[in-house]
């Protein structure tokens, strides 16, 4: 499953940060997930819980920060919202729209002890 390997990537980041920063336990992970990133928040939360079991982040809360999909229309020159990468411009209906945001999958910050 896609989210499983991404959750493993998150755990790696946490372990690296713990070594650098000298913390032993993660309480909360703030994770930015773009709507165009093809990550399902529910699946991510499920996989995260499974992957961190027995680690420094066991039982940690996963706060998913939803980042909307945005694009720039090359036809009418306006910015538009996107639910899918291939959505038409909401102003003039043109396709394709240049994706400008919402593909992010980033660990933003942590609450640690």
């Amino acid at each position: 499953m896609h989210e499983m390997s991404l959750a493993e990537g998150i755990l790696q980041l946490l372990e690296d940060a713990a070594r650098r920063e000298g913390f032993g336990k993660v309480r909360t992970v703030f994770l930015e997930i773009g709507r165009l990133s093809s990550v399902q928040p529910e699946a991510m939360a499920f996989c995260f819980d499974a992957v961190v079991r027995g680690s420094l982040a066991e039982g940690a809360r996963l706060e998913i920060i939803d980042v909307p999909g945005t694009g720039h229309c090359l036809d009418c020159g306006r910015d538009t919202e996107l639910d899918e990468v291939y959505d038409p411009c909401q102003h003039c209906g043109a396709v394709p729209v240049q994706v400008t945001g919402g593909t992010v999958m980033r660990v933003k910050e942590l609450d640690v002890e």
Binding site: M1, L6, L13, V85, R106, D111
Partner: protein
Amino acid sequence: MCTTCGCSEGETKIDGHEIGDRPRFSYAPKAKKVTAVTAAEAEKHGLPPISHSHAPGVPQSRRVQIEQDILAKNDAYARENRAFLTGRRVFALNLVSSPGSGKTTLLVKTIEALKGKAAVAVIEGDQQTSQDAERIRATGAPAIQINTGKGCHLDAHMVGHAIHQIDPAERSLLMIENVGNLVCPAAFDLGEAHKVVVLSVTEGEDKPIKYPDMFRAASLMLLNKCDLLPHLDFDVELAIDYARRVNPAIEVIRVSAKTGEGMGDWLAWLERGSAKG
């Protein structure tokens, strides 16, 4: 465990050996600056206040800024691979598709067509077995098999080990056949020059909009098994239209690994790409 980079890769095996059995070219991960934020600093930066619990026995929590992409580690390995490959002027492609669309067959035919013209090395990714690497070796080309076990995609770290082992020649072609899966491999950069997505006409025309990330990540779509078109209702134009909807820049070549149709266009594409590198 890996003696060079200290990794332990769980189930991943390269030609049947655990990944750490052989050294990899050196890789020093670049530490990213991580700032621990005190309550005062948090306030200064307009961050949410840090909750202080002074109850005895309850450890105090602090907030740590990370701002790192989930795939940061993979991307660092990918950059390392890319630097190594471009340094040697190796033209590397990452072949992705659903299982059975004809990647290995296409590779075998490509190697045969390039015999005496260009050196080709292959890295094969599958969850189990080394059958595909053996199919490639039967052509005389060097091949390395990565078995990902339960893993559903290749990542830049395991591919880095395989690159070191296969030691591609200057100005050669390196073909990386990814695990058959249209989802995860889209997200994992391996250090290739291009992703090439293979779609066979026995699959649906709507694959590009069902798996948009993969078709967006690819530079070229090979529409394979075109020899079967007379027996199918597959609408070629519709499939191409869907692919261009998610990726207006994607190039498309219709091929048949079986009859050799379109192979000339594919070989010309390879030649143009290698020349640029």
